[in-house]
Amino acid sequence: MRELFERLGRMAVTAVTVTGNMFLILAQAVYFIFIPPYKLRNIVKQMEFVGVKSLFVVILTGSFTGMVLAMQSFNALKRFGAESLVGPTVALSMARELGPVLTALMVTGRAGSAMATELGTMRVTEQIDALYTMAINPVKYLITPRIVAGLSMLPILTVITDFVGVIGGYFVGVTLLNINPGVYIGRTVDFVNVDDIMYGVTKSFFFGLIITLVASYQGFYTTGGAEGVGRAATNAVVVGCVLILVSDYILTSIMF
């Protein structure tokens, strides 16, 4: 019994420490966004890494999801004789929910793990210590650019996912399911407005922050050599994905 309480106590302490350290890093990283000199080169490099290099995988997931959504919603809507609503159904699902969430999950798998690996390697090979002894603040140099990249690129990637999803849905709806193209587009424009897109984009800001913050944190505090680096990468993905799904629920219920 006592052992159980001790275990719980230790877990609670760890949870509080981790959360505390994460907010500390976040506070520092955000603070340095506003303090010159700006590490523009680092920021651009990270934007390319998070944004440009995720394009392919994001376009792939977006288009296939749009296509599947068209088929599934056609199947469901047919039962009410509302096949003409496939367009808006696809567009709304993409813009409000699947666009931001799928993009975030894919970027976590691709960029989050790589970020944690890179920073973790820098930690265990003392490169982060070296930065520090050269009077360079490692948070400003390494983490701020990553968080800025997450905050700026996730919304853009999300809009791209939404867009290719709608195109995929249109392609399936019009060519395979024989929905009239005019009706498909007309209905989509009738029912979907800019607010729906902004709703998803708002979520994606938070996701961009979560992905880069979790990955940076895991990498930055890596201990235990090569094995520790592997653990950091795994944790970046697992913790990142869980936090994205949980925060998606929270954000959805706040903005409902």
Binding site: E118, T121, M122, T125, Q127, D129, A130, Y132, M134, A135
Partner: protein
């Protein structure tokens, strides 16, 4: 002048530094010797603020760095250069990027001028034509020398070396030792080196300090240390398994 006063540091229950007292004189090379695992790296990391002591002081020119705020300490750090045990080169940058990094971050020099200084420093450590190589493509000895060039590129007043020769062949070790003596004498820099390489110690040291069981047990000029009768020091300098130092 760097004064370490009653410095204590434990990790969990393991006591590593148990009251280290050491005064390091300006413009000289002080070599801190001791067995593997006694806490030499831990000691040097305290001097550059990478570790915080449990108690004790570290005075740099009379000011306690353990109590400094970040901004003030950053200014102190700019006077330091450090060679890490594993060189700690940035593997995302070329050799020239690594060596020129402190200049790029802390000076307004043009890229062309930085390149010139980098080439000059690399030549000093015996490397020619490696500027555009990546650290991953270098041998261990080359990495150490690039790390050395990076440590001295800002012409710091104080340079710390964590095992500059460990893992190098004897000829390379000797050439690093020569290099350290030359650069130190040329600029009258304060060098602090930690090592268990006795040949290197005799070659570069003005002062020698021995760390044993968490304390500095002997400290003095290298000639005195050669004559010192302390059996622990004698055994270490002789490199013998027989003597008061327990071999686990």
């Amino acid at each position: 002048m760097i004064e370490i006063i009653d410095l204590k540091k434990s990790f969990n229950v393991k006591v590593v530094l148990d009251g280290v007292d050491l005064a390091i004189e300006d413009g000289k090379t002080t070599v801190i010797i001791g067995r593997s695992g006694v806490g030499k790296s831990v000691l040097i990391k305290h001097i550059v603020g990478l570790l915080k002591p449990d108690s004790g002081k570290i005075l740099v020119d009379g000011k306690d760095i353990t109590k400094m705020g970040e901004r003030e300490f950053t200014e102190v750090l700019k006077r330091f250069g450090m060679l890490f045990q594993g060189a700690a080169l940035f593997d995302s940058m070329t050799v020239a990027g690594n060596v020129g990094f402190p200049l790029k971050e802390h000076t307004d020099l043009a890229d062309k001028d930085i390149r010139g200084i980098v080439t000059e420093k690399l030549r000093r450590v015996g490397l020619v034509g490696v500027e555009d190589m990546m650290p991953a493509d270098l041998s261990g000895g080359m990495k150490k020398r690039v790390g050395l060039a990076r440590a001295i590129v800002m012409d710091p007043e104080i340079v710390l070396f964590d095992e500059p020769t460990t893992g190098l062949d004897p000829i390379m070790s000797d050439s690093i030792a020569n290099l350290m003596s030359e650069t130190q004498k040329a600029l009258k820099t304060t060098y602090i080196a930690i090592t268990h390489d006795i040949a290197l110690t005799y070659k570069i040291a003005d002062m020698v300090a021995m760390i044993y069981e968490g304390k500095i047990i002997e400290h003095g000029a290298v000639e005195e240390m050669k004559k010192n009768a302390n059996p622990v020091l004698r055994q270490f300098l002789a490199g013998s398994a027989q003597g008061p130092i327990k071999v686990y």
